[in-house]
C-alpha cells in the first residue's frame, strides 16, 4: 500500500496536476465561503470541466474542491455569523464572538489549522483502513439511525444553556419544520398549504441564512446602527498565526477527539457531516476544564467544530470508494464523476485503478496542507472584510444571500422562506429563544423519522418493535450515550456546586469574597 501512496503523491506533484489542485482548493474555499453555494453545487458545476482532463487530474481537482469547501464555510461563519455550508453551524458559536472581540484572524487561522488537521487524520484512516470500516458502517441499520438522531438532539441540552425546556421546544419546532414537504417514507405531501414548491421541503441552507445571518444584520446593523459588523476592529498580524498554531498544538486531545468524531460520523452513510461539527463541539465542552469559556469566543470551539467537519469529508468517502454508497451529497457527486470516468466503486478501485484512486486520496491530503497555508495567509485579507463599514457590507451580504437562496433550487419561494426565517430568528433572539436548536431539529428530524418509521415497519415484521430497536449492540451503545448526554448537564451542575461549596467552605461565601477582593 505504501508504494501506491508514493505513486499517488508523485501524481499530485506533477505540475499540471498540482496547478489543478490549487485551483480546486481556491474554488472550494470560494464555494464554501459564499452562503447559498455549497460544496455539492461547486462539485456539480465543475465536474463537466473535469471531463476534458485525465481521470487523475480531474479527481485531484475534485479533491481540492471538497477539502477547500470544508474550510471555506468557516469564513462567513466567523465573520458574519453565517455558516457557509450547514457543516459549519457550530463554527458560528465561538467564531462570531471571536470576531466581535476583534480576534477574527485568530478564528480564521484556527479554522484553517483545525480543518487541515481533521482532513489529515481522516485521510490516513481512509487510506489505511477503508474496507473494514465500510463493513462496520453497513451495520448501521434503522434503529441505529434513530438513536444517532436522538443523540444529536441531546446536544440541545448543552446548547440551550439557559432554559432546557425552551431549548427542546425549539428542537421540536425544528423537527416539525423538517416534516414540511414530501414524506420520503410515506409518500404523502405534508404541510405545504397549497404551495407546490414546498413539496421539496424547506431547504436547510435557506433556513440557516435566515436564522443566523439576517437577525444579526437586523439587530446590530439596522437596529442599533452599528457602524461596523464587529464591536472591535481586527488588526491582522503574523504573530497571530504563530500563536494560534502553537495554542492548538498544545491541545492534542481536543484536536484528535474532534477529528475522530468527524471521521466516524462521516462514514455512517447518509448521517451527513452536518451534525459532526455540533457533536464535536458538544464533546469539547463536556471534557473541558473551563466549559464556561465556550460560546464567548475561544479558538477551542472553532477548532473542535472545524476539525470535525473537515474530517467528515474523507470519512464520507470511505463507504463511497469501497461500496459505492455515498456518505454525503458531495460524495454522491464524486461518485458520479468516478462513474463518468468509467471507474466503479469497489475492490477494483484499490486494485485495477489503484494509481488513480491513490492520486485522489493523496490529493485530499496535500489539499489539507494547502488549506493551512492559504487559510493562514488568506486570514489577513479575510479578517479585514469585517472592518468594512457595515453600510457597504450589509447590503452586499443581504444581496448575496438573496442570490444564494434563489440559486439553490431556482425557486423564489426559498428567498421568501429565508426572509420569514430571518424575522422569526430576530424575534426568537429577542425572546431569548435561541435558533440553534431549531436548526438542529430541522437537520435531525429526517434521520429520526427515517429511523423510526423503518424500525416500526421492520419491528412489526420481526415480532416486536421495542425489542427490534433496543436489543442490538450498536443501538445499546448509542442509547447509553443519549442518556449520558442528557444527564451530563445535571451532573456538571452538581459538580460545580460541589466545587463552589468547597471554595465557600475554605474562603467564605461569594458575597464575602467579592467584598474582600474589591
Amino acid at each position: 500500500m505504501f508504494d501506491f501512496a508514493l505513486t499517488g503523491l508523485y501524481q499530485v506533484f506533477i505540475p499540471g496536476n498540482f496547478l489543478v489542485l490549487c485551483i480546486g482548493v481556491f474554488m472550494g474555499i470560494t464555494f464554501g465561503a459564499l452562503p447559498g453555494l455549497t460544496a455539492t453545487m461547486g462539485l456539480a458545476l465543475l465536474v463537466p470541466f473535469t471531463f476534458t482532463m485525465s481521470p487523475s487530474a480531474g479527481l485531484i481537482m475534485l479533491a481540492g474542491i471538497y477539502v477547500g469547501a470544508m474550510y471555506g464555510d468557516a469564513i462567513p461563519a466567523i465573520l458574519i455569523n453565517t455558516p457557509g455550508t450547514p457543516a459549519a453551524i457550530a463554527t458560528t458559536f465561538d467564531g462570531f464572538p471571536l470576531a466581535q472581540k476583534g480576534m477574527a484572524q485568530h478564528g480564521l487561522v484556527a479554522a484553517a489549522v483545525a480543518s487541515s488537521f481533521g482532513s489529515l487524520v481522516a485521510n490516513v484512516v481512509l487510506a489505511a483502513a477503508a474496507p473494514p470500516l465500510a463493513e462496520i458502517s453497513l451495520k448501521f441499520g434503522p434503529p441505529e439511525y434513530f438513536w444517532l438522531g436522538i443523540f444529536g438532539l441531546t446536544i440541545i441540552s448543552t446548547l440551550s444553556s439557559g432554559s432546557l425546556i425552551k431549548g427542546f421546544l425549539a428542537g421540536c419546532i425544528g423537527m416539525i419544520l423538517s416534516a414540511v414537504g414530501m414524506a420520503e417514507l410515506g409518500g404523502d405531501i405534508r404541510l405545504t398549504f397549497g404551495f407546490t414548491e414546498l413539496q421539496g421541503g424547506i431547504e436547510l441552507i435557506v433556513a440557516l441564512i435566515g436564522f443566523f445571518c439576517l437577525p444579526e444584520i437586523l439587530s446590530s446593523v439596522i437596529g442599533q446602527r452599528r457602524a461596523a459588523y464587529a464591536e472591535k476592529m481586527t488588526k491582522p498580524s503574523l504573530d497571530v498565526i504563530w500563536q494560534v498554531i502553537t495554542a492548538l498544538f498544545r491541545r492534542p486531545t481536543l484536536m484528535f477527539r474532534s477529528a475522530t468524531i468527524g471521521t466516524i460520523i462521516g462514514f455512517a452513510p447518509g448521517a451527513g457531516g452536518n451534525i459532526a461539527s455540533m457533536v464535536s463541539y458538544n464533546e469539547a465542552i463536556r471534557w473541558d476544564k473551563h466549559p464556561e469559556e465556550y460560546g464567548k469566543g475561544t479558538i477551542k470551539g472553532v477548532a473542535a467544530s472545524e476539525a470535525a467537519n473537515s474530517a467528515m469529508a474523507p470519512g464520507s468517502l470511505i463507504p463511497l470508494l469501497t461500496l459505492g454508497i455515498p456518505g454525503s451529497p458531495p460524495a454522491a457527486v464524486i461518485l458520479g464523476a468516478l462513474m463518468l470516468h468509467g471507474m466503479r466503486p469497489g475492490a477494483e478501485l484499490f486494485t485495477d485503478y489503484a494509481d488513480i484512486t491513490f492520486a485522489f486520496i493523496m490529493g485530499l491530503l496535500v489539499a489539507a496542507f494547502l488549506v493551512t497555508i492559504i487559510g493562514s495567509f488568506g486570514s489577513f485579507v479575510f479578517s479585514r472584510i469585517i472592518n468594512i463599514p457595515s453600510r457597504y457590507l450589509a447590503p452586499a451580504i443581504v444581496f448575496m444571500t438573496v442570490l444564494g437562496s434563489y440559486a439553490i433550487r431556482n425557486n423564489m419561494l426559498d428567498v421568501w422562506i429565508m426572509f420569514i426565517f430571518g424575522i422569526i430568528g430576530y424575534v426568537s433572539n429577542k425572546l431569548k429563544f435561541h435558533p440553534a436548536p431549531i436548526v438542529l431539529g430541522l437537520i435531525l428530524g429526517p434521520f429520526v423519522e427515517e429511523g423510526l418509521v423503518q424500525s416500526i415497519l421492520a419491528g412489526k415484521a420481526a415480532g416486536g418493535t421495542f425489542q427490534y430497536m433496543v436489543y442490538r449492540p450498536i443501538s445499546g451503545v448509542l442509547i447509553f450515550l443519549c442518556i449520558m448526554s442528557l444527564l451530563w448537564p445535571l451532573f456538571a451542575a452538581w459538580r460545580s456546586k460541589q466545587k463552589e461549596a468547597k471554595v465557600t467552605e475554605l474562603t467564605g461565601s461569594k458575597a464575602e469574597r467579592d467584598v474582600r477582593d474589591a
Binding site: L169, G186, D188, G223, A407, F419
Partner: protein, 159 residues
C-alpha cells in the same frame, strides 16, 4: 431592583408566555393539517406534536411561576429602524420577480446603502452609493449568471 432611570417607552413582555402561546398555536395548526396522512407519513408528526404540546404547556406554566421578562426594543428609535429595514427588504423581494433581478438589486443596494449612512442625501453620498451599487451588484450578477450559469429571475413586466 427595578431600574427607575430607563425611559419606559416600550413595555416589558413575558417571553415565556409568548413563546409558549405561539408554540401551542403552531401545534394546533400542524395537528389539524395532518389528520389525513397515511400511517407512515403521520407517525412521526404525531410523536413530535405530543412533545411539542407538552413542552409548550410547561413553558406557559413557567411563564406564570417564574417569568422571564424582556424588553423587545430598547428604544423607539430601534423599533423604527428595524421596521424600515424590514420594509426595504420586503419591497426588494416583492419587486424582484416583477422587474427582474438586476434592476431590483440595484435599487435595493442603493436604497439600503443610503439608509444606513449617517448623513443623508449629500451629493457625495448619492454618487458614491450609486457607483458602489453598480460595481458590486454587477460583479456578482456576472459571476453567478454568466460564469456559473445559474438562472436568475427575469422581470415579468418585461416579458
Amino acid at each position: 431592583m427595578p431600574d427607575m432611570s430607563a425611559p419606559q417607552s416600550t413595555k416589558q413582555l413575558n417571553a415565556d408566555l409568548i413563546v409558549g402561546a405561539i408554540s401551542l398555536g403552531l401545534a394546533a395548526l400542524v395537528f389539524f393539517s395532518t389528520r389525513e396522512l397515511s400511517e407512515l407519513g403521520g407517525v412521526f408528526v404525531d410523536y413530535i406534536l405530543v412533545a411539542l404540546t407538552a413542552l409548550a404547556a410547561l413553558t406557559i406554566i413557567k411563564g406564570f411561576i417564574k417569568p422571564e421578562r424582556i424588553e423587545f426594543f430598547e428604544s423607539a428609535i430601534e423599533r423604527n429602524n428595524v421596521l424600515v429595514g424590514i420594509g426595504i427588504l420586503l419591497l426588494y423581494l416583492i419587486f424582484l420577480p416583477m422587474i427582474g433581478f438586476l434592476p431590483a438589486s440595484y435599487a435595493f443596494y442603493f436604497c439600503f446603502n443610503m439608509y444606513l449612512a449617517d448623513e443623508r442625501f449629500t451629493t457625495k453620498n448619492i454618487l458614491s452609493s450609486a457607483a458602489l451599487t453598480i460595481v458590486v451588484v454587477t460583479a456578482f450578477y456576472f459571476i453567478f449568471h454568466n460564469f456559473l450559469e445559474v438562472p436568475l429571475p427575469e422581470g415579468k413586466w418585461f416579458e
